[in-house]
Symmetry: C2
Subunit: 228 residues, 2 copies
DNA sequence: TGCCACTTGTGTACGATGTTCACATACGGG
DNA sequence: CCCGTATGTGAACATCGTACACAAGTGGCA
């Protein structure tokens, strides 16, 4: 019953604005509403996941009337999708950061292996650190299918799916993965890591201590390496 | 803005009932409303997943006023949870059926292995055949944590999680799985199969031809067997 | 420069949902 | 038999997504 929700009634022009966030706007045009809404969506999703992305809340945060959103998105689903893509891009960045933090290695095989594991580790780290965003990125029915769309890319211009593919190619090049095992391997690896992420976020592994979660995650990646 | 909330107009007592399904009821008491609501929830979920489980729709289908639900469930979430448990029980039954359909074998190791694979195959078969129910069972944040609760059990009185555990024990007993690999193995196997199910239902593997999906699923189980 | 069409945001309204409160009805034990 | 209690009803509210008509700026073309 207490839905904290408050207002948007009472147009209150003039200075004193409510706790809507940043409704400071004096120009009639917003200027960059589309991105403002996506940003607001990300903020909402960060705490509360997909169902927390509520049109009216996002427009409120952007300091704009609810229907203004319809000038930029066909409906709530379209906004959700855009936020989802943005969240995927963050996943990609986390993976890239994990790879970038890798200690330099001489052995190209060891390097390829480390880069592969970093993809999975980054995925799992993101899931733990930003469960709300993770759910938006991958728990939204049907949006996972766009994991290879360009606007889900990170700094290197690669989507999470493409990063995984590249890492697998590296394993093949260095002889760590037989070539005939390569086809479809991304789905095997993705399945295992994603499933584990779900168990971790809102499954029976929820509440696991971060270090234990990390160890368990490494076991999953071990299993993948052995099983691919 | 007065929200003119105005609904449930048209109480429509008497004969002509709408397309509500089975609103035929003349006694004041329903008799078994709680189960009727769960059943209605299952029907709604079957096509549309968790978000299709709408309190008012369920009560409508049960031929009862919306608030009547609150005599049996604290809120919508509680109903959703009950439906989720019921769906899990169906998963357990599918697994049991898959095991029961196994051809008899002399070799106990082969039998244990087949029983293990049947667990995964049943899980995936259910996901494909009843994606809506599957989502209710396992996609509802937090409900997966109750996968071992008793009311999620199938005909043999075992939950999906327990069936998996028993199958893994069988692998250990027949020497197919080293004892030191047993701890935590259920989460490895579950992760991989569940992740694949998600990719299949609303991920990039959506729309895969059923036979192809089955083959891919067997590949996932192969990976698990090798990787455990 | 002046006008006009187009883009973007506003106001108001509607139907639907979850939930609450006061009230009505029947069942079952004293 | 009678009354307490479990169960269902009715009306109301806040909130949500969305549609329609209108207002306010913006940019191109005369």
């Amino acid at each position: 019953m207490p839905a904290t929700g408050n207002d948007s009634r009472n147009a209150d022009r003039g200075g004193s604005e409510k706790r809507t966030g940043k409704p400071k706007r004096d120009t009639y045009r917003h200027g960059d509403l589309r991105n403002a809404l996506i940003e607001a969506g990300l903020a909402l999703a960060r705490q509360g996941g997909p169902e927390a992305i509520v049109l009216r809340a996002a427009t409120r945060q952007a300091g704009v009337a609810p229907n203004a959103a319809y000038r930029h998105f066909a409906d709530r689903g379209a906004l959700l999708h855009a936020v989802s893509q943005a969240a995927m891009a963050e996943v990609a960045r986390t993976m890239e950061a994990e790879q970038a933090a890798l200690p330099p290695t001489e052995d190209p095989a060891a390097a390829a292996r480390a880069r592969f594991r970093a993809v999975g580790t980054g995925y799992l780290r993101f899931a733990q650190e930003e469960p709300g965003l993770f759910r938006v990125a991958f728990h939204v029915p049907g949006d996972m299918a766009h994991a290879a769309d360009d606007d889900a890319a990170g700094l290197t211009g690669r989507t999470p799916f493409e990063l995984l593919g590249a890492a697998l190619d590296g394993l093949v090049e260095t002889g760590l993965l037989p070539e005939d095992r390569r086809p479809g391997a991304e789905f095997l690896a993705w399945s295992a890591v994603h499933g584990f992420a779900v168990l971790l976020i809102d499954g029976p592994l929820r509440g696991l201590h971060p270090t234990q979660a990390h160890d368990a995650g490494q076991h999953v990646i071990d299993m993948i390496e052995r099983g691919l």
